[in-house]
């Protein structure tokens, strides 16, 4: 099943190489088109307002508006960038295994009749755009409360241009990782490893907040975070089940395993905190939920329902310990824990997809390995995908941060401005007037 899906993406991409898209138009499938239109709305809803509220509630009162604004500004900028060049680099027709070329700049050659498989190309392109929006928005969690708005925006645009678009091509746009047989149904590597590693490098370069580790940095509004987290859960149905690019059995299974993994991740985190501290925290529960969702993302097209349970359990446990280790032991101020939750979740899920795809695991069986693949060779491909996207992201992120620092005379606000807060410092307004 998964192989078929990858092949269909590959075939579309390969076909685009030799003939204008319009001439390979299949008959439009209304059900599939309807579902991907819906999924597009669901995934945009994850960023606006899901992730924005989730992140906004986790910072301090004086920074809430800046976080909402960062997510919003990324959404509008990346939308334009997608039209100008992003779709072309990620999904344009090209001979290269590394990028899609520039022939689809400004959606050149795409009109109302253009098809991508059996859905309109505009629908496919809009759906993929929402993934390009949320990925840099996830990184916001690493540098909140201390980055200059100008640095943030330039970095996010360049990062999406030079990290997200190429990696999306490698995995989904007919590039080398997809051709190798990498299982990444909805973005374990493309979205979560890139965002997680990008966040980790950014946190290391920008440094800790002045009051890192002190109780004064605790979240100002967990009601807001709960609201946003619940929206992320719902929106994730579009993210994962929409990645089937059809309203079919693959979409149904992806939706179900996604839900099970989210619930398992949340429950796992709650139980760990309950045992360790005597009380399960609300923030712990929703963080475990996000960990379960991030972890199932690459595997959602290949595992079965019981496999989804294992993925959620692994995501909850591993992301929990990664979060406490990074903050408490390594003292890295990835402020909202983007790497330990999204990056580590993406890595664990991409790895597990190579195992739980097997149909020889009894009740934990998945949809079956692709022809010619063994579990060993599939896991090898998965590890290659994780390492390639992680290392590439780390290097490019580091270089971009240095370039942006040079362009904007440093990426960090002054200590005094940090004390005042990013709302006033960056925007001359406040989230709350009380």
């Amino acid at each position: 099943m998964i192989r078929e899906l990858f092949n269909s993406k590959l075939i579309v991409s390969l076909a685009l190489l030799v003939v204008p898209s319009i001439s390979l138009a299949q008959d439009l499938n209304g059900a599939n088109t309807g579902w991907i239109l819906t999924s597009t709305a669901l995934v945009l809803f994850m960023t606006l307002p899901g992730l924005s509220l989730f992140y906004g509630g986790l910072v301090r009162t004086k920074n809430v508006l800046s976080v909402l604004m960062q997510c919003f500004a990324i959404a509008v900028s990346i939308s334009i960038l997608w039209l100008v060049v992003g779709y072309s680099i990620a999904f344009g027709p090209s001979d290269s295994a590394y990028w899609g070329g520039l022939s689809r700049m400004f959606f050149s050659g795409i009109d109302i009749n253009s098809m991508s498989g059996d859905i309109p190309e505009t629908v496919f392109a809009a759906f993929q755009m929402t993934f390009a929006i949320i990925t840099p928005a996830l990184i916001v969690g690493a540098f909140v409360e201390r980055i200059k708005f100008s640095s943030m925006l330039i970095f996010s645009i360049l990062w999406t241009l030079l990290v997200y678009f190429p990696v999306a091509n490698w995995v989904w746009g007919g590039g080398w990782l997809g051709s190798m047989g990498l299982i990444d149904f909805a973005g374990g590597t493309v979205v979560h490893v890139t965002a997680g590693v990008g966040a980790l490098v950014t946190a290391l370069v920008i440094g800790q907040r002045k009051e890192f580790g002190q109780s004064s940095t605790l979240p100002h509004n967990l009601t807001m975070s709960f609201t946003g987290a619940a929206m992320l859960w719902v929106g994730w149905f579009g993210f994962n089940a929409g990645s089937a690019l059809a309203a079919d059995g693959a979409a149904g299974m992806a939706l179900f395993v996604t839900h099970i993994s989210a619930a398992t991740g949340a429950l796992t985190w709650m139980v760990i905190e309950w045992i360790k501290f005597g009380k399960p925290s609300g923030l712990g529960a929703i963080t475990g939920m996000v960990a379960g969702l991030a972890t199932i993302t690459p595997a959602s097209g290949s595992v079965g329902p019981a496999g989804g349970l294992l993925v959620g359990l692994a995501g909850g446990v591993v992301c929990y310990y990664a979060t406490t280790y990074l903050k408490q032991n390594l003292k890295i101020d990835d402020s909202l824990d983007v790497f330990p939750v999204h990056g580590v979740g993406g890595i664990v899920g991409t790895f597990l997809a190579g195992i739980l795809v097997s149909n020889n695991l009894g009740v934990f069986s998945g949809n079956g390995l692709a022809e010619g693949m063994t579990m060993g060779s599939q896991v090898g491909v998965q590890v290659t995908g994780i390492l390639a996207t992680g290392i590439y992201t780390a290097i490019v992120t580091f270089i971009l941060l240095k370039i942006v620092a040079a362009l904007t005379s440093g990426i960090r606000i002054t200590d005094e401005q940090e004390q005042v807060g990013c709302d006033i410092t960056d925007h001359d307004e406040k989230g709350y007037s009380m």
């Binding site: 002190q214 109780s215 985190w269 009380k279 923030l283 712990g284 903050k327 824990d337």
Partner: protein, 112 residues
């Protein structure tokens, strides 16, 4: 005249107000404040880590009374605010030089 400043547990504020009314105190100013004493702070959880909160929320009540009312008022506060647990709070008594009612211009005990 004396100014009584009582730092109490927030959930006891209503009982203290009632007890003061019962002994004839006709006005109280209440503020929400934070602080620490022997009770120290408490911990809060953030994603698998405990953070120490040094300052606990308390209620601060300011009561201006005539000299002959001081003992009664203090007794009322102690009775109403006490739980026997650490963190019940403290009472400070200071001399009050002058009181003035803005509307009428009355001063001293008449303004209380």
């Amino acid at each position: 005249m004396k100014l009584i400043t009582a730092i109490i547990k927030p959930f006891k504020a209503d009982e203290v107000r009632e007890a003061l009314s019962d002994v004839g105190v006709s006005g109280v100013t209440l503020s929400e404040v934070k602080g620490f004493g022997r009770q120290k702070g408490h911990t809060e959880l953030y994603r698998g880590a405990e953070y120490v909160i040094d300052f606990l929320p308390k209620s601060k009540m300011e009561i201006a009374v005539s000299d002959d009312m001081v003992d009664q008022a203090i007794e009322a506060i102690c009775k109403a605010a006490g739980t026997g647990q650490i963190g019940d709070g403290k009472i400070f008594v200071t001399n009050l030089e002058q009181t003035l009612r803005i509307r009428t211009g009355e001063t001293g005990d008449d303004a209380l």
